[in-house]
């Protein structure tokens, strides 16, 4: 069995079938099915998210100490890195921890992209291919064909009005801003600013290129992320935080 077959067996086909079954349960609304699937994915990845949020909160609390180190070793980057890593280790925080929830979601994005394109079956070949991937569940087979309409969107096409791109980019910026600690060093500050903008811009751009069904997943996932972050870390985090250079 090759990688492609394993992929479809373990991830591709289950996501496709669950999405179609959800759509049937939700009065044939494919858009609602994507939203519910997003919630399910966020629930499954909750242990990872929780750990990341806790670590984010700890890092937030450590901010005065980090700023102190930045002031102290600002000119010696190597030493600064060493001291910061030491500090993280003492606090039991993994600075890479924030990446895992995202890495875990990448296969889901790919599977979802494929599922959207397959489920909406824009060509006869797509529809025929779909037949080979559906489980024998009645609920799945009775849901076909699916309507691609949801609100103003055609879920198989990018949003022509850019509304979703703005929502995806905006929510991603807010979510990142809530967790990204401001730097004291001017060089690091510009790097941080770039990082803060890069992801939202990248995903905003991807939203314009990919089916709006996938962008809907990103948007809902971001909104859930913001809400959980707000409640777990107890507030807006760094969103309301002013860096020392800004406050002077």
């Amino acid at each position: 069995m090759g990688f492609i077959e394993v992929w479809y067996l373990i991830i591709g086909n289950p996501v496709l079938n669950v999405l179609i079954a959800l759509s049937q349960l939700l009065s044939g609304s494919f858009g609602l099915a994507i939203i519910v699937l997003t919630i399910i994915v966020r629930l499954i990845s909750w242990p990872l998210t929780k750990r990341q949020l806790k670590s984010s909160k700890t890092m937030q609390d450590m901010q005065p100490k980090i700023q102190e180190l930045q002031k102290k070793y600002g000119k010696n980057q190597q030493k600064l890195q060493q001291e910061m890593m030491k500090l993280y280790k003492e606090a039991g925080v993994n600075p890479l921890g924030c990446l895992w929830p995202m890495l875990v979601q990448i296969p889901i994005w790919i599977a979802l992209y494929q599922a959207i394109m397959r489920a909406l079956a824009t060509t006869p070949e797509n529809l025929l291919d779909l037949a080979h991937r559906l489980y024998s569940w009645d609920i799945v087979n009775q849901a076909i064909p699916l309507s691609s309409k949801f609100l103003w969107l055609d879920l198989g096409q990018p949003d022509p009005y850019w509304i979703l791109a703005i929502i995806v980019g905006g929510t991603m910026w807010v979510q990142q801003k809530m967790t990204q600690a401001p730097a004291v060093d001017p060089r690091q500050q510009s790097q941080s600013r770039m990082m803060l903008l890069m992801m939202p811009l990248m995903f905003g751009f991807l939203t314009l290129m990919f089916p709006s069904g996938l962008a809907l997943y990103w948007a809902v996932s971001n909104i859930i992320g913001i809400i959980t972050q707000y409640f777990v870390t107890g507030g807006w985090g760094y969103l309301k935080f002013r860096s020392p250079s800004q406050s002077t």
Binding site: P95, M102, W109, Y113, Q142, I144, P145, M202
Partner: protein
């Protein structure tokens, strides 16, 4: 903090690449699976490179070919903009004397005259009865024509992906009428319409059968509604419509009735959809299924007479996409894996036609999805490799094949 940032950047850079790598498998382009038609010793076929090709059935020589204008294929995901692609053709050519009609995925219906095309005159030659009709998009996503054209004495009936049904004058291509006010037809309309008497029957992917006046296009009183959508084009025998459904049943519906006469199989559903149109002969329905089986069913009762499982070269069931064809009392069945079977229509005993070069391989070295036809003991099959295969039933072998891709 540098390490996480670098990793972050790598993730960002890899993400689009990862997504791009999966595009080809998901957003498949329409390629078409036009079937074959034989008329007065000439084989007519739509090809994968967007042509209508005619082949002399005795010699295997090319008579003429006509290239339909390519289309702009939309970009998908991070693909680099739209590109030109051959027009996909799904419908089987319809031949009426010296005119061949064909519908295309680019939303056109063409009437091609065999003499004018043989002389390679510029298209269309009105004096030869040639014309081209552009289907309007009409606020729909697409005007693609996937269904076969239904021909009556003086008109062609076209079902379009824009959800409308059109009647065109055979001689001029002028619209006789159009039916565009049926809301449930507003999405894909891919099943081929069929004519019975003075009525045109249209089935939809969302599970309706409509009856339209052939003369005026008016909706008649009767329609049928099913819980699941219909996958196959309908077939009518006397006053009963037979068609496959997404719920993995084959339906028999008496015209005028609100409830199905029967659903097959009686107990649990089949292994997959009945995608191919069934055929009916002397009270028996022969239906190919995507579960790899062909079923013979009593048309009156829905009881199973026999079933036959088709396989791929590894011995696993392979989907039947093309409708079976009856030659005398022999049922010819081709599966997606490229195997062709000759089955006794009474007993269900069948034999696979072996590959001449390697008997372990499939009958032909390509997938079979297109409808095929038979005449005088020969079966004309267009493979997905864009080759025309001619299978001799009596000899039980592929007699000859011809490449339909023509270099400019």
């Amino acid at each position: 903090m540098k390490q996480p940032k670098i990793l972050f950047l790598i993730v960002i850079a890899l993400l689009p690449l990862t997504l791009v790598s999966c595009i080809s498998g998901s957003a498949q382009l329409a390629k078409g699976w036009a079937g074959t038609a034989v008329h007065e010793g000439i084989i007519y076929v739509g090809t994968a490179d967007g042509r209508v090709v005619t082949i002399n059935s005795s010699t295997g020589n090319l008579e003429w070919s006509y290239s339909i204008a390519p289309v702009t294929a939309p970009s998908s995901g991070l693909a680099c903009g739209p590109t030109l692609a051959p027009t996909a053709i799904y419908g089987t050519p319809v031949v009426d004397r010296d005119i061949v009609y064909i519908g295309t995925y680019s939303g056109k219906v063409l009437a091609l005259n065999t003499s004018a095309r043989g002389e390679d005159l510029p298209f269309p030659q009105a004096r030869y009865g040639e014309w081209e009709w552009d289907c309007p998009i009409a606020n729909a996503k697409s005007n693609a024509i996937v269904a076969d054209l239904a021909m009556s004495e003086d008109a062609l009936h076209v079902a379009s992906s824009n959800g409308r049904v059109y009647s065109l004058d055979k001689g001029s291509g002028d619209e006789n009428w159009r039916r565009e006010d049926i809301p449930v037809l507003a999405e894909k309309l891919w099943a081929s319409p069929v004519i019975q008497g003075d009525t045109l029957y249209v089935s939809t992917l969302d599970g309706h059968i409509y009856a339209l006046s052939l003369e005026t296009g008016e909706l008649l009183d009767w329609f049928f509604e099913s819980e699941a959508g219909f996958t196959s084009s309908p077939v009518i025998d006397e006053d009963t419509i037979f068609l496959g459904s997404f719920d993995r049943y084959l339906y028999a519906v008496k015209i005028g009735s609100d409830v199905p006469m029967w659903k097959f199989p009686e107990e649990k559903p089949a292994g997959n959809w009945f995608w191919a149109s069934p055929i009916v002969n002397e009270g028996i329905v022969y239906a190919g299924c995507l579960d790899g089986k062909v079923y013979a069913i009593y048309a009156e009762t829905g009881e199973e007479l026999w079933q036959f499982e088709s396989q791929d070269s590894r011995g696993k069931p392979a989907a039947i996409v093309s409708p079976p064809v009856l030659v005398g009392n022999l049922l010819i069945v081709a599966n997606e894996a490229g195997n062709v079977y000759v089955i006794n229509s009474e007993t269900g005993d069948g034999e696979r036609i072996k590959n001449r070069e390697n008997s372990d391989k499939s009958t032909i070295d390509a997938q079979i999805r297109a409808p095929f036809c038979a005449q005088e003991g020969l079966v004309y099959i267009r493979g997905e490799d864009n080759q025309l295969y001619v299978v001799d039933i009596e000899k039980g072998e592929v007699s000859w094949k011809v490449n339909l891709t023509i270099e400019e």
